[in-house]
């Protein structure tokens, strides 16, 4: 029988809830010093690797999240036997403890913001003054013509990025009081202005949700997506990758 790992938790006690994992196997805790490795038994490989199985995995992690601080483990992490799992864990114990301490009683929320990037870029292009070039690129020649075209593109992109930064600062500022850590991905595409992950203390989650309500009325032509609470997927800092 192989061992399927779901998460590492901050407790070496038995789990009180009856949780079913992949292939309907019972989920249990393997204690290691003061932490626990949440696993279930699995006969061979995971049958039918699909979104449904990934949701089952996520379901186990989310149920555990209600009672423990945890480090979620990647979907389909399998060991041949418990001894193999324990020997791997031994080497990373201090790493796990550091992360569990830092993430204690904290949860993750996601905010995505879409803005009308194409319209904004077009507006910046239309407002770009004609023939506004530095003296060093005045005059005509193939090299200078090329630099002129690239310089115009550079200035428009810079204007676009500055506008994005201004909006991101306003959005991020709304959440700054209720979060402990954040990860911001800017302009992943022309229209996806912001993909943000925020780490929030459990007791401050209502403040965070209120900030989102405030955000919705900040920019009328933007679109927003709120999700969470999630396990702190984006805030685990591994020492060794």
């Amino acid at each position: 029988m192989r061992v399927y790992l779901y998460a590492i938790i901050d407790s070496n006690d038995k789990i009180r809830k009856a949780i079913k994992g992949l292939e309907k196997a019972s989920v249990y805790n393997i204690p290691y010093r003061d932490i626990g490795l949440i696993v279930s038994k699995l006969n061979g490989q995971v049958q039918d690797i699909s979104i449904d199985r990934a949701i089952e995995h996520e379901g186990v992690v989310e149920t555990l999240m209600e009672d423990f601080t945890l480090l979620p483990v990647r979907f389909l992490t399998l060991f041949d036997k418990e001894e193999d799992l324990l020997s791997v864990i031994k080497g990373y114990y201090s790493d796990f403890i550091e992360n569990l301490d830092r993430l204690r009683n904290k949860i993750e929320f996601g905010i995505k913001v879409i803005w009308p990037g194409n319209t904004i870029r077009e507006r910046i292009m239309n407002n770009y003054p004609k023939d506004d070039y530095p003296a060093s690129i005045s005059g005509d020649s193939p090299g200078k013509d090329f630099i002129k075209a690239r310089f115009k593109r550079y200035k428009i992109t810079k204007g676009f990025e500055d506008e994005a930064e201004r909006c991101i600062a306003v959005i991020d500022n709304l959440f700054s009081l209720s979060v402990t850590e954040k990860r911001l991905e800017r302009l992943k595409s022309e229209n996806l202005l912001l993909n943000a992950y925020y780490l929030v203390e459990k007791e401050r989650q209502d403040d965070f949700r209120r900030s989102f309500e405030q955000l919705k009325s900040s920019f009328n032509d933007f679109k927003y997506l709120f999700s969470g609470p999630w396990p702190p997927y984006n805030f685990i800092i591994p020492k060794v990758i």
């Binding site: 530095p134 060093s136 193939p142 992943k188 996806l192 989102f212």
Partner: protein
């Protein structure tokens, strides 16, 4: 803890996220049948990164006025030829502009 996913425009988000997902493969797709293209993609991605850095640096220097007339002319011609050569190589290996990028996992995309 009650999980919530809230948006008034689910379709817009699905479409935008799908667009980002589709452009970048999670891994370099190299196998005996396409090893040449896989390697070319990797090499051209790195050249494209350097080309963009050079171009950005040149634009900063043009903006600050620290280049002479002759230097601007020379840099312009160099960048133009580099871009032409890149177009030619992309054509040879059947690569599109948006394919020249790499996902660096938790660090994000290369460009």
């Amino acid at each position: 803890m009650h999980k919530r996913i809230e948006t008034d425009s689910p379709g817009v988000f699905i479409e935008e996220l799908k667009k980002i997902d589709d452009t970048l493969p999670k891994r370099i797709d190299a196998n005996p049948q396409n090893v040449e293209k896989g390697l070319a993609k990797l090499v051209l991605t790195l050249i494209e990164l350097i080309r963009r850095l050079l171009e950005r640096q040149a634009m900063r220097r043009v903006e600050s006025g620290s280049l002479t007339d002759e230097e601007v002319e020379r840099i312009g011609e160099t960048l133009m030829k580099l871009e032409d050569k890149m177009q030619e190589l992309k054509g040879i290996f059947g690569l599109k502009d948006e394919e020249l990028n790499l996902s660096l996992g938790p660090l994000g995309d290369l460009m």
